[in-house]
Symmetry: D2
Subunit: 359 residues, 4 copies
C-alpha cells in the first residue's frame, strides 16, 4: 500500500538502494505510443550523479532495461516494466548507520515502522536512488505528452538565497522550457547559476550541504484536466511531488504570496485573445477548482539541504539506548537541487498524463 | 473518480451548493467507536458562516442527519452516511454567472470540463459549501483520534501580512491546540486577531477580500504513520489539504525556509529524553521519509483571497464570445480564512486516521 | 474498505436494514446523461417485495430521493446520491436473533468480525434490503447503456429443478430481454413459471424456502470492454454478482459444462457475417481473454434458498455459550429468486458501464 | 488499470509471453516474514510445463530472480519484485496468428482493443505463461499463511467427466491438502487420475484438448476475513480466480447445486463443539455474508479445454477481411488442468492474505 501512484496511468516503484535492482512498472499507458529509449536515457542522465564536481561520486550506470510492455518499439497495452541494476554499491559504508540513525533521514522512522526489519543500507527503499525509476517513467510520459503539444520543464529557482529569474507564468513557452533543460546547470540566468555552484562548493568544503527551490511549468495543457476535490490538479501533483525525498513545501501560482494580496489583486481576469479564453495574469498557476484553465501550470517545490553531512552531529545509538555522535561518511551530494530538477519534471509528467487519460 | 479520499478510512463527498442536500459517506472507520453528535455539531459550527460581522450572511442550518453507520451510538462496521439539507439557497443570484465566469473561480473550467452540463449555481460541486461534510468527517475522526491521545488543532497564522505567534514545533501541546480552537477568532495572540479582523472589515468596506495562512499541528502521533513515497504523510496530507478550495500552498516543518538553510542548521538531532527518542528541533515538521517521527506534525496552508468580490472585474460572456465586465453580487465572505481553520483540521484528521488505520 | 465498487464509474452503498435510511453515491458517471426517474422507479419496483403472494409482506416504499448529482434532469459531473428512507421496520422481530444467529445468515460472522458492535437488526448492512440502492444504480446505468445500444436483461432459469428456456447465446435480442423483463414473473416459458410459483408456494406452506438460477444476457456490447487479468469482464462481473446476498456460483457461456467438452467442441469459430466478425457458437459467453468479443455476454448466477425459514433449526446461544433451537419468525421470502432478477441486471449494468467508461 | 490485484497486499503482474521477461511486484506484505526461495521454486515447478508426457514441450526455466523487497531473507517493507526471464521462445510459431485469430483465444479481442498494437506472440500479456509470476506470489503468500496455521490446497475434481473424490467440506485437513499437492498428478483417487491421464492422451492423439474442474480448500481461516458486499470473500476470490485464463465458472460450497435444495436442506446449523462454534454441514463453503465462518473455505473453478488445437478450425483473416481455415501448430497443452491446480492455489492464497491483512 505504497510506492504506487495514479489511477489510469499507474506506476509501481520497487527496489532499495542496495538491493539487486530497482525499477518500475507502468500500467495503463496509452497504446501505440513509440518510446525512444535513447531520449529516455538522455533524460535520466540529467538526474544521474557524478555529472559535476559537486555531486556524489557514486557512479550509477543506470541503464534501464525494458523487459515488457513494448512491442516493435511501441506501447502495446501490457504493463511496461524497466529494471535498473544496482551496481557500485558499497554497503559497508552503512554498517554503523544501522545502529545510529542519521538526523534528517528516514533511518529512525523506518526502523520503528518495520520493527528493525527494514533494509537500512543506503536508506533502503527511502533512498533518493529510487527517483531513478521515477525519472524513467517521467521520460516515457513526457514523450507522450509532447506528442500532444504538452511540455513539462523545470529549473532551479533558488539555492541558499541566490535566485534565478522565474518563469513568466503567462507567457512561458515550450522553447524556454527546452532551453533550460538542456543546460548542464539548469538555470535561466547563468550568472546566478555560477553563484549557486559556488555556494554548493563552499558548503561542500565545510562538510555541509544546501537546499533550494525548483520551479516547474507545464505548457500546452488543455482546459479540463483534473477532477474535483481530492483528485484536483494541485492535490494530485502535490501528492506526487511530496513523494520526492527532501521536499518540504509545494505551492502553485502565486503560492504563499496569495496570503498578502487582496482579491482584486489576486484574481486573474478572463479575456478573449485570438478567439481563445485566457487570463490576463496567472496567479492561479493554471488550475481553478483543481481543473486546468489552459494557462501554463506553474508550481514550486522546496528541497531541504541533503541531510547527509560530514560535520559531526548528535544522534543516538539504538542498541545502547543512549545519546551518541555521528559524522556521516560515504558519498553524498552537498547540493541535491540540480539533480532534483528532472525528478520534479518526471513526477509532474506522470501525474499530468494520468489526469489527462482520465478525461 | 473524484471527491473520494483515503484507502482504509475512506470518505466520499456528494452534493452541490444548491442541490437538495450535500453529505458524506465514511467507510472503514474503526468499529465500536462512540460518536458524540453534539460535539460534532459544535465542531461544524466553527466552520459555519454567519458567526461574525465579516462572513457571508447566508445562514446554513447545517445540522447533519446521520442515516446509517451508527448503532446504539457507536460505529458498527457499516458505512456512516450523513446528509445535510441545502436550505436558504438563492439560486437566482447565480443566473448571470452561468454565462459570465467569475475570475478566480471554477466556473469556467467546470463549464469546459463538463460541456456546459455542470451545476453552476453557487459554484456547484466546487463550492466551499462542500467543506461542511468534510468537517463532519473531520469531527468524527477527531473524536476517535483523541481517544488515542492524538490532537489536531489549527489557528490563523497570518492575514494580509498580520501575523499570529506560530506554534512551537517542539513543545506544542494538546491543551494549546484546544485553547485556540475554542476562540471565536482562532489566533494565539488576540491583539493580532483584532488587527486581522480590522483588515477583513477594511477589505469588506471596499468590496474586496483577503487571504491568509492557516497553521495546523498534530500532537501525540506515534512513530510509524505514513507509507513510503506517494503515501507518505506529506503526500497524503497535501492531497487532502489542496482539496480545500482556495489553498495554493502547503508546507511542512520549516517549509520553504529550508531553501536558505545549511544542512547543519536544518537537520534535527536525535536525543533520548526521559527514555524516549526525540529531536532537539523540529524543522522536519514531524515526518521523516514520509513517516511520522513522534514529534508534533506541523504544517501550513496558504489560502488565496475569496475570489467573489463586488469590485467590478474583467471577464467574458461565454454565449456572446466576447469580453465583458462583472461585479459579483450575492453573499460572500470577504475573508474566508477564519472559517477555513476547522476545515484544515478536518482534512488533516481524516488523513491521519486513514494512515493510522493502515499501520 | 467495503461496499464500494468500480474504478471509473464508482458506487458506494450505505445503510442497514433498520437504519434511518439506505442509499448510494454514484461517482464518475458520464456527464450530460438524462436520468428518467420514473423509469428508475419502475425498475426498482421489479425488485420490491410484496408484489405477489409469495414474497415477504414487508412493504418498502422505496422511493429514492435524488439529493445531488443531477442538474436540470441530467448528470452534471458531481456525485449522484440517492437516499431511500427505511420505514415499516419492525426491529423487535430481531431481538432474539441478536443472541441466536440464524443458520445461513451473516449474523454470526458479522458478530465476530465487529466484536458484537454490528447492527444485527434485520441483518444490518448484510440485509438483502441493501440491494435496493444497487438497483437504483443499475437503473441509472441501464438508461445510459441503452442510449449506446447496450441492453441488459435477465430471467429465472430454474427454481428447484424446474427449468425455463435459456437465452439463445448467439441470437438473443434486446427485444427478448425487454419482453421477459416486463413480466410479473420473469420467465420465457410461462408454463414453467407457473410450476416454479407452485414450487415456491409449496415451500412456503411447509415454512421452507427454495433457491434457483438467474440467467443474464447483455447485447450490443462493442468489442474491447474489459481489461487484462483481474479486471477482465468475468472477474469484474463476478465480483459484482457475488456481492448479491445468496449467490453461491457464477458461470459464463458454457460455464461448468466446459469441463466435459473437447476443445474442438467448445471453441467458437470466427466468421465474417455481413462484414462483421462473429463467432458461430457462443460457448465463450461473450468474453475472450476477459475482453468482450462483440457476441452477447451470457452468464448465470446460482442463488441459495432464503436461509430464513420458520422450520425449527439447531443453532447456538451466544450469551449462554450453548446449543439451542430457533424458528425464524418475521416476514421473509420463501423464494427470493424472482426478486433477484433485476438485482442481477443492476449489478451487471453497473459493472459493464464501469468497464465501458474505462475504454 | 489492469493486471493488479489486492488492496492491502497488492500484486502487479508484468510481461508478455515473448517479451524479455515477465514478473511481479508484491507490495504491502507483512514485514519480517522469511521467504524460503527453494520452497517457492518447488511450488512453481508444480505449474511448470514439461513435467509429463501430456503437457506442452516448451521448457521454461522459470527461476524467479528476486531483485528487491527482501533483506537478510525476510520481507523488509519494500515492494518485493521477482523477474523471470523469457527464454526458449519461438516467436516465428506465431507469425501466422497475427493475421488469423485462434478460436477461443484473446487474439481477436486484444487486436481490436489495442488497435493492432498488442504483442500477439504467444498470446502476449494474455498468455497462460503469465500465471508463472502469479504462482510466485502465491508461493510467498502460502508460506506466510502457513505460519498462521492456514493451508491452501487444490486437486483435480474432474476431467472430461472422470471424477476424483471431492474434499470433505466439513473435515478436510491441512494434511490432506499437503498430501494431494505433493503428487505428480494431483488427485485424491489415483485410479481416477490414471483415467484422466488416459483421456488427456486420447485427446492429444486426436490433436484435441480437454478441460476440467479444480477444487480448492482453505483450512485454518479465522472467523471474520472478508468485507461486506463487493469485498466479500466470494467476490474477492472470484475476481482472482476468473483472472486465470480458461476459467468459465466459480462456485462456493454447494455451488450451483443450491438451486435444487430447500432452505431446510441447505442451511448449515450452528453447534458448539469442543467450545468452538462450527456448522454441522458446510454447504455455505466457509463464507456467510462474504465473511469467513471458521469452516473450511471450499470452492471450484471450471476450466475450458485449451483452445489451441491442431485440428483445423474456421477462422478469419484480418488482413483479407474474409473467412479462412487454421490449424494451430506450435507447442500446446492438450490438458491444462493439472498445471492449473497450483495456479488456483496461488490466486486463492494471494486473495486470502490480502483479506486477512485488511482485518
Amino acid at each position: 500500500m505504497s510506492s504506487d501512484f495514479g489511477k489510469k496511468v499507474r506506476i509501481q516503484i520497487f527496489g532499495q538502494s542496495h538491493s539487486e535492482a530497482i525499477g518500475i512498472v507502468i500500467d495503463g499507458l496509452p497504446v501505440g505510443e513509440a518510446v525512444d529509449l535513447e531520449e529516455v536515457q538522455k533524460f535520466m542522465e540529467r538526474r544521474a550523479p557524478g555529472r559535476n564536481a559537486y555531486s556524489t561520486s557514486r557512479k550509477e550506470g543506470d541503464v534501464p532495461r525494458v523487459v515488457s510492455g513494448l512491442f516493435e518499439g511501441k506501447t502495446c497495452g501490457a504493463p511496461l516494466c524497466a529494471v535498473i541494476e544496482n551496481t557500485n554499491t558499497r554497503s559497508q559504508d552503512y554498517d554503523k548507520l544501522k545502529d545510529m540513525p542519521r538526523p534528517g533521514h528516514a533511518d529512525y522512522t523506518a526502523w520503528v515502522k518495520y520493527d528493525g526489519c527494514n533494509d537500512h543500507r543506503g536508506g533502503g527503499h527511502f533512498s533518493g536512488r529510487l527517483t531513478a525509476p521515477l525519472c524513467f517513467a517521467g521520460a516515457v510520459c513526457k514523450q507522450i505528452l509532447e506528442r500532444k503539444g504538452i511540455h513539462v520543464g523545470a529549473h532551479i529557482l533558488s539555492i541558499k538565497g541566490i535566485k534565478d529569474a522565474p518563469f513568466d507564468a503567462v507567457s512561458v513557452s515550450a522553447e524556454e522550457l527546452q532551453a533550460v533543460a538542456e543546460k548542464a546547470f539548469p538555470v535561466q540566468t547563468d550568472v546566478a547559476g555560477e553563484a549557486m555552484q559556488a555556494a554548493i562548493a563552499a558548503a561542500k568544503a565545510q562538510g555541509d550541504s544546501v537546499g533550494g527551490i525548483v520551479e516547474c511549468a507545464v505548457t500546452g495543457l488543455p482546459v479540463g484536466a483534473g477532477e474535483p476535490m481530492f483528485d484536483g490538479l494541485e492535490s494530485v501533483l502535490a501528492q506526487a511531488i511530496f513523494a520526492i525525498p527532501a521536499v518540504k513545501g509545494v505551492e502553485f501560482g502565486a503560492g504563499f504570496a496569495v496570503a498578502e494580496l487582496f482579491g482584486s489583486e489576486n484574481n486573474d481576469d478572463f479575456i478573449y485573445e485570438d478567439g481563445r479564453v485566457k487570463t490576463k495574469t496567472n496567479h492561479h498557476g493554471g488550475a481553478l477548482g483543481g481543473i486546468s484553465s489552459g494557462m501554463p501550470l506553474v508550481f514550486r517545490a522546496a528541497f531541504k539541504p541533503t541531510p547527509s553531512i560530514s560535520i559531526e552531529q548528535d544522534t543516538i545509538s539504538l542498541s545502547k539506548g543512549e545519546n551518541d555522535r555521528l559524522a556521516v561518511t560515504g558519498r553524498h551530494d552537498p547540493g541535491i537541487v540540480p539533480r532534483a530538477v528532472p525528478v520534479v519534471e518526471a513526477a509532474a509528467a506522470v501525474a499530468i498524463l494520468d489526469l489527462l487519460c482520465r478525461m
